[in-house]
Symmetry: C2
């Protein structure tokens, strides 16, 4: 059927060991036999089986990527850059989408281990710390992306969530808003953004209202649901800091349903700067994560750890977020109607 190393060896009239050596460029072989083998390989359209190779203990040249929801543009965009960059470096990527379910995390991680991936990239929203710990001890390189949890001894590539939260809130504060709701995800990085939010208030000497801190899972629906809730309060917020673009869009849609004008009646700022932020009208003011840079960096780091072995010192790389002011935030209007 498909050519094996034996077929090539026979055709080239050498031993399989010789063929193996020219494939891997190991040992010393005469120029002529090398040429001959190469030629036969090409002629027979031979490609070594990764499976057999992996069984001998070599790497599989495969990375695992765990995301909570590949249909969230933030993750699909990051997956794209990771995939591209990894392939440039000769690795392929198995992408698994966990749907925010712990059981799926567990299942996929076991699966990926069984497939002998060389390294694993996990992203924001990962919940099962024990599992992680287990992977670490089993020596397979793991990196966390966009999930800045200092309590784990793992390399991290992330945006500076604290700074991002601070910037977003400060922007709103500087526009005169003081009643700002923050809708955060139930993940670590959002927790840190909340810290930035509080810090921003603090530096203005205002006390944030704890009731203004909401948490949910990333989706348009949840954003909408929460803003509807918020809007039914006696004193609704005049601005919302949504911890990602999906939620921000839900907020905008919900507010519009209530007849509010964005940004005149409600300022909204998002986070991530995905494609969604550019397609709304007005376009969404948001905090940009350097998605491409982060994706490339995480690949570089994990490849480095794979090659250097697990003794490499763990890195913690924080990218600086950027405030992108577009049309969904404006100065607070006089409240006297």
């Amino acid at each position: 059927m498909k050519a094996t190393i034996y077929d090539v060896a026979k055709e080239a009239e050498v031993s399989i060991a010789t063929v193996s050596k020219v494939i891997n460029q190991t040992g010393r072989i005469s120029h002529s036999t090398r040429g001959k083998v190469l030629q036969v390989m090409k002629k027979m359209n031979y490609h070594p089986s990764f499976v057999a190779t992996a069984l001998t203990g070599k790497r599989t040249e495969t990375l695992g990527l765990l995301v909570p929801d590949i249909s969230n543009p933030f993750f699909s965009e990051i997956a794209k850059t990771i995939e591209n960059h990894a392939h440039d470096k000769g690795k392929s990527v198995i992408i698994c989408s966990t749907n925010y379910k712990q059981e799926k995390e567990t299942k996929y991680i076991e699966l990926l281990q069984r497939k002998q991936i060389d390294g694993l990239i996990i992203t924001s929203g990962f919940q099962n710390k024990d599992l992680l710990q287990q992977m670490i001890t089993s020596k397979i390189p793991v990196i966390i992306l966009a999930h800045n949890d200092p309590s784990l001894n793992i390399s991290v590539v992330s945006v500076d969530d604290f700074k991002g939260g601070f910037m977003a809130t400060s922007h709103l504060l500087s526009k005169g808003h003081s009643n700002i709701a923050i809708i955060a995800e139930e993940v670590k990085s959002s927790t840190i953004r909340i810290l930035g939010y509080e810090k921003a208030y603090e530096s203005k000497n205002i006390k944030p209202d704890r009731g203004n801190i909401l948490r949910t899972t990333a989706s348009i629906e949840n954003g909408k649901r929460i803003i509807l809730d918020l809007l039914s309060r006696k004193i609704p917020p005049t601005a919302v800091f949504a911890c990602n673009d999906l939620i921000a869009i839900g907020v905008i849609q919900g507010a519009r349903e209530k007849g509010l004008n964005i940004p005149d009646d409600l300022s909204v700022i998002g986070f991530d700067n995905t494609i969604l932020a550019t397609t709304t009208v007005p376009a969404l003011t948001t905090i940009a994560q350097p998605i491409e840079d982060m994706g490339e960096k995480v690949v570089d780091v994990i490849i480095d750890e794979i090659e250097k072995g697990s003794e490499t010192s763990k890195k913690r790389i924080l990218f600086i977020p950027e405030l992108i002011v577009r049309g969904t935030t404006s100065d607070l209007k006089d409240t006297k109607d």
Copy 2:
């Protein structure tokens, strides 16, 4: 390091064959030994290596998925459903994004073969027919998704592009438009949508203007570029049928740049009904593809072909598209300004 079948055998005081049998539920083993082996496996946290298993000729339980651009919401949404459904069926998915490059197609297909995937799902935009032919002859099941090319002897799961093109155009026609530009992708399914476009004209006894048929690659930028072009004609179109949502959004943005109001000055209809179609204002009128159904179906079909072997008769499954009328299309205004 990691437990192997030998470790389990020794610990359970049986042979590896016995262990193998309980793993695979083959042969007959006494209840007691089975129990013991099971228990030891659990105790040692043993999981059979996929690599070793694959080498013996069994399946890898892995599917390949080739998309041209995972950051296009259509593909990331379809990838999500495929991934979910496949995992429910016990398969994992390797997603590769080719960036619309033939060389990458080639590279990934070779790679996937080397990894001994059980089946391959390729999507719209695939270009290299020869490669496909080669895969078919090499007996590995291949299915095409959203790319309805009757010239290939492969199973197809797709939306009815002809009907979709017809519906979109008819909708515009029924609104009084007769100067409708169609911006299609350079892929087969778009070609068929163009046929539907022409058919719609024909059934109204109008002759479409060939200059109104444009082709490009899916992206917001391209949509914008083309509409800007179109708008600079002496007699610009009054409506645009964009063959996907990304292009449609580019069209909207470009038209707005020129000061046009959507839909009053220009009606726009998209295709796909991705998340993007719901986030614009006004929301995008579009032709919906049943993404979930298609994704699930394609997984079912490929698993079926994997299990039944290549003698299964090839299927051609067409889903019916649906017109979703939202805010970007309206009746043609009187042209007298």
